[in-house]
Every structure is written in structure tokens, then in C-alpha cells.
Amino acid sequence: MKGSAWRSPSLLAGAAITAVMVAVALLSLVWTPYRPTAMDFVHRLAPPSAVHPLGTDSFGRDVLSMIMAGAQSSLTVALIAVAVGAGLGIPLGALAAARAGLLDDLVMRGCDLAFAFPALLTAVMITALAGPGAGNAMLAIGIFNIPVFARVTRGAARGVWAREYVLAARAAGRGDAAISVVHVLPNIAAVLMVQATIQFALAIVADAGLSYVGLGVQPPQPSWGRMLNEAQTFIWRAPLLAIFPGLAIMLAVLGLNLLGDGLQDLLDPRLRRAR
């Protein structure tokens, strides 16, 4: 198992890109080349140079510093959103799997209902109602993650419930809740981990989308989405202003997707053997 991890290029590349992203985000908490909010009107829209490696924006802010700080806010929003989605979705899905029947139908039809709304539109609606800001963006993205986790958990958990060792646990006098925690969740953890990675990538895109339309992290705190928005005005004069945050989003999503794919490949033979 350990050996095969090194033979999976997508896992390695994904893990490396994600690690760099996380490192950059963490670093931005203690150090950025310039203060990401510091304006320098003399050097507005400066091209990349030794002083400003990625240039400056229309307010003369250092783009590299903003991208670093943006990584931190994007990853934080995505992480908390996925935690909200997983934290509520996994128990719901596990409950639906454990109690087939009316409750199962209720949860699953609820998910269907949630899926009927386009995810980003729902998030826009929620932030429009609750007001813009990082907290509401996390909540909004988190809410549309709940049915995703609920459905994946239920599907995988039902497979485990059909196994004989669950019957054996019931024959040993275990209740449904204990079986869910002790036997079912550990056996579907791999599936959930892969799903969480992919949802993380989607949450980053959603966060960028929300902050692009001004519903995410509020100024002056930098975010990738708003950098894109602000770059629009100068797209012909300074196209790099749009390209750099775009690249950052693309890299973060690519890294997480590769990581998710790699994890799936790594965990799949084990799942196949257990089946």
C-alpha cells in the first residue's frame, strides 16, 4: 500500500500542489512580501518585477501578497464549508442508512429537493438574504454540501449494513447508533475522504464565485474572486491581474482534484477486495 502511493503520479502531484497551497496560506498569516492591503498609488498597475514579483493592481497593492492572503481566506472558507456539510450530512446519511423506511425517504427526498436548486444560485440566495460576508459564505456553501455528503454516506453505509459483520454486531447486542459509529463509519471513511477532497475543490470555486459577485469575504480583506472582479476593468491594460488569481484558483482546484483522484485510485483496490 505504501509502495503504490509512490507509483500514483496524480496523488503525488495533487498532494504536492495542495501542500504548497496550504503552506502559502499559513505563511500569509505571519508573512507576506507587503501588507496585502497597503496601497501604493505611485506604482499602480506595475508589471511583474523584482520588487513586485507578480506586479501591482489598480491601487498599487502587491498582487503576490494579495494572492497569498486570498489563499488563506479561500481555504478557510472552503474548509469550514466542507466541515459544515460533512458534519451535518454524514450523520444524516448514516441515520438514513441505519433506519430504512420513512426517515430514509424523508432525508433522501430532502436531498433531492436541495439538488433541484443549482448550488451556486442557492448560495447566492442565502448570502443575499443573510447578508454578504465570509461567515455567511461558509454557511451557504456548507448548506449545499450537506445533501452531497448525506447521499454519499447513505449509499456507502447501506453497503456496509448489508455485510455479515454488521449482522454479527447486531447479534452481539449492539444498537443501531453504536453499529453506525463503530462499524459503519470507519468502513466508509475512505469514500468520505475522497468526497471531502472533491467537495473542497468545489467549495473553493464556489467561494471565488461568491466573492466575485461581492457576497464573500468583504474588503479590504483580499480574496481571489474579488481580485478577478477588480481585474475586469483593466483586462486589456493589465491582463496579468486577472490571470494570476485565475491561475491560483485553477491550481488549488487542480491540486485537490488530483489528490481526490489519487486517493480514490489508492483506496479502490482495497474497496474492491472487501466487496
Binding site: A100, G101, R163, E164, Y165, L167, A168, A169, R170, A171, A172, G173, R174, G175, A178, V182, H183, P186, N187, A274
Partner: protein, 316 residues
């Protein structure tokens, strides 16, 4: 201690209720042993699941299952949970799948101890190690921190047995405990089961399709076919006579007991959705007469030996 009387179970199949057990009765005294024998689909596992209260959802039951004064069919789920694993242990057919692949074997044996006896983690672990040693899984070859995939099939079945016996139950239900094992290991596991139950004064309900297995292990035998008991009695009496044609056919088909090559039973068991009106074995039976296809033969005889057949065999 365990009294099953006139048990019937109906399961919904594609929405239609289908009888899978009818009129099953058995008595298992404390420390006694009963073998349930029959082909796949004869209802023997369903009987065990009914006793455990683990019938599939939608199952409808009739009759009574008395266990030490409790009616298990009427007992609430919480009462059954307290009974399962504590007073009734169960060993499953497939040791490959009856253990959680992600849990160390020691923890799996310790689980019921903590759940039912309220032992601390350390006390349960120590007890689990002792139980594993008792079923022949002792260090250095097998330690409690191994995972199921690191064990052979026979070793895993020993873990399942240790877990089932952990709380010292009064009744052990073993559902085809040796079917999935190598022939060389089967005898060892059966001997172990017999020794452990005798040692603890535990009652044993042994389910198998192999008549030869029960002949050496249990005191009483029930032969089941298509959800009904067709022959029952003390092992000695049933083996001495084998009055029901199905019992003889099953014996002849057993690889261990048959003289010469095992003879397969011609035909297949009738689909439970379309059982013939009379004796369910009649279509496969050489002795069947007109009444066999019209009326279900009643199970008649004494406690020592009963048979449900209009044309039973005389003594062998």
C-alpha cells in the same frame, strides 16, 4: 430453556407475503444441543434469525419463541439487544465477512464484554486475550492486535466463536459454522464448539446442511425441508431409522457419511412462492403417492422420534 412452538414466518417478496417457515417447534433444554439440518432454503437459518429477533424488515411472525420466560417474538428491541450477545451468542457461516475488516480481533472480542458486562477497556482487553487463547489463538502466533485479513479462515472462525462466547451466553447458535472452512479445519472447529459448550453448560443450536456433522455433535436433530420440520427426535433415533425419504436422501448426499459416492437429490426445492399443496418433498420423492400431493403430512410420533410422512421408511 428455549422453546419454539408453532413458529411461522412470512417474508414479503416483491410485495407479496411468502411463507418461509410454518409450524416449526423445538425444545432445547439448558445445556442441551439441537441440530437443524436441511438444504439451502429449508428455513434453518431463518429459524435462527427468528430466535435472535434479527429477521429481515417486513417479516411477519406467528407462534411463540420462549427463552427463559421471555417471549422473544413479543419482546421490545431494547430487551432483545440486552439478550443478544449476553445470553444468546451467535456464530456465523462466513468467517471472512463476519468480522469487521478494520477492527483488531482483540477489540472485536472485547466489544460485547464492554457493552454487556461494563468492563473497562483494560479489563475487557485482558479478558479478550484470554478468550482468544481459549479458542486456540495464543501469542506468539496470533496476538489480539492483528486484523482479520492477517488470519486464516479457521482462525477467523475461532475469533467469531470467541466473540460469541465472550459474555458466557446460555445459548449458542451456530449457523453453518464449518461450511466455509477447509475440511481439515472443520473437525477442529466442531470439536472446539462441542468442548466449549459442554464446559460452560451452554445450550447449542447447530445449523448445518451436513447430517454427518450433527451425528457427532448434538443430542437432538430436526430435519427441515421447505420451511417445515419433516423429521425430528434424538440423534440416535433419527439416525437409526431415517424414516423420512428426505432425511435418507440428505444422508446419501453427504460427502462424509455416504457409503460410496455422494448421491445428489434429484430436482430442486420448490420455490416458496409456489409450493405444492401437499408434501413439499413429493415432487422429488420416489415413494410419493396420491395423498402426498394433496395433503401436508402431519408431524407425528413421540418426543423421541417424529416424522411427517405418509410413507415413511422402516428401520434401516
Amino acid at each position: 430453556m428455549l422453546t419454539v412452538s408453532d413458529l411461522s414466518v412470512t417474508l414479503p417478496m416483491a410485495g407479496v407475503p411468502v411463507p418461509v417457515l410454518s409450524g416449526v417447534s423445538l425444545t432445547l433444554p439448558r445445556g442441551g444441543s439441537v441440530g437443524l439440518v436441511g438444504e439451502s432454503g429449508s428455513g434453518k437459518s431463518m429459524t435462527a434469525l427468528a430466535v435472535m429477533g434479527l429477521l429481515p424488515p417486513g417479516a411477519r411472525t406467528g407462534g411463540q419463541i420462549g427463552f427463559d420466560g421471555h417471549d422473544l417474538l413479543a419482546a421490545p428491541e431494547a430487551a432483545l439487544c440486552a439478550l443478544r450477545g449476553r445470553r444468546i451468542g451467535m456464530v456465523f457461516q462466513e468467517p471472512m465477512t463476519a468480522l469487521d475488516p478494520l477492527m483488531r480481533i482483540g477489540a472485536q472480542v472485547a466489544e460485547p464484554l464492554r457493552r454487556h458486562l461494563g468492563l473497562s477497556r483494560a479489563a475487557a482487553a485482558a479478558r479478550a486475550a484470554a478468550l482468544l487463547a481459549r479458542v486456540g489463538l495464543a501469542p506468539p502466533r496470533v496476538t489480539p492486535d492483528l486484523y482479520p485479513h492477517q488470519l486464516s479462515g479457521g482462525q477467523r472462525q475461532r475469533v467469531v466463536i470467541a466473540a460469541a462466547l465472550a459474555c458466557g451466553p446460555d445459548l449458542l447458535i451456530a449457523d453453518e459454522p464449518t461450511t466455509a472452512l477447509d475440511v481439515t479445519v472443520q473437525a477442529q472447529v466442531l470439536d472446539l464448539l462441542a468442548a466449549l459448550t459442554a464446559e460452560a453448560g451452554m445450550a447449542l443450536l447447530l445449523i448445518t446442511h451436513d447430517l454427518a456433522v450433527v451425528s457427532e455433535t448434538v443430542e437432538q436433530v430436526l430435519v427441515m425441508y421447505a420451511g417445515r420440520v419433516v423429521e425430528s427426535g434424538s440423534t440416535a433415533a433419527v439416525f437409526a431409522r431415517m424414516a423420512h425419504p428426505y432425511t435418507r436422501a440428505l444422508f446419501a448426499a453427504s460427502p462424509h457419511a455416504a457409503v460410496g459416492d455422494p448421491a445428489p437429490i434429484p430436482g430442486v426445492m420448490p420455490d416458496p412462492r409456489a409450493r405444492p399443496p401437499g408434501c413439499a418433498f413429493a415432487p422429488r420423492c420416489a415413494r410419493a403417492g396420491g395423498e402426498c400431493t394433496r395433503t401436508v403430512p402431519p408431524l407425528l410420533g413421540t418426543d423421541a422420534h417424529r416424522v411427517a410422512c405418509f410413507h415413511p421408511h422402516a428401520a434401516r
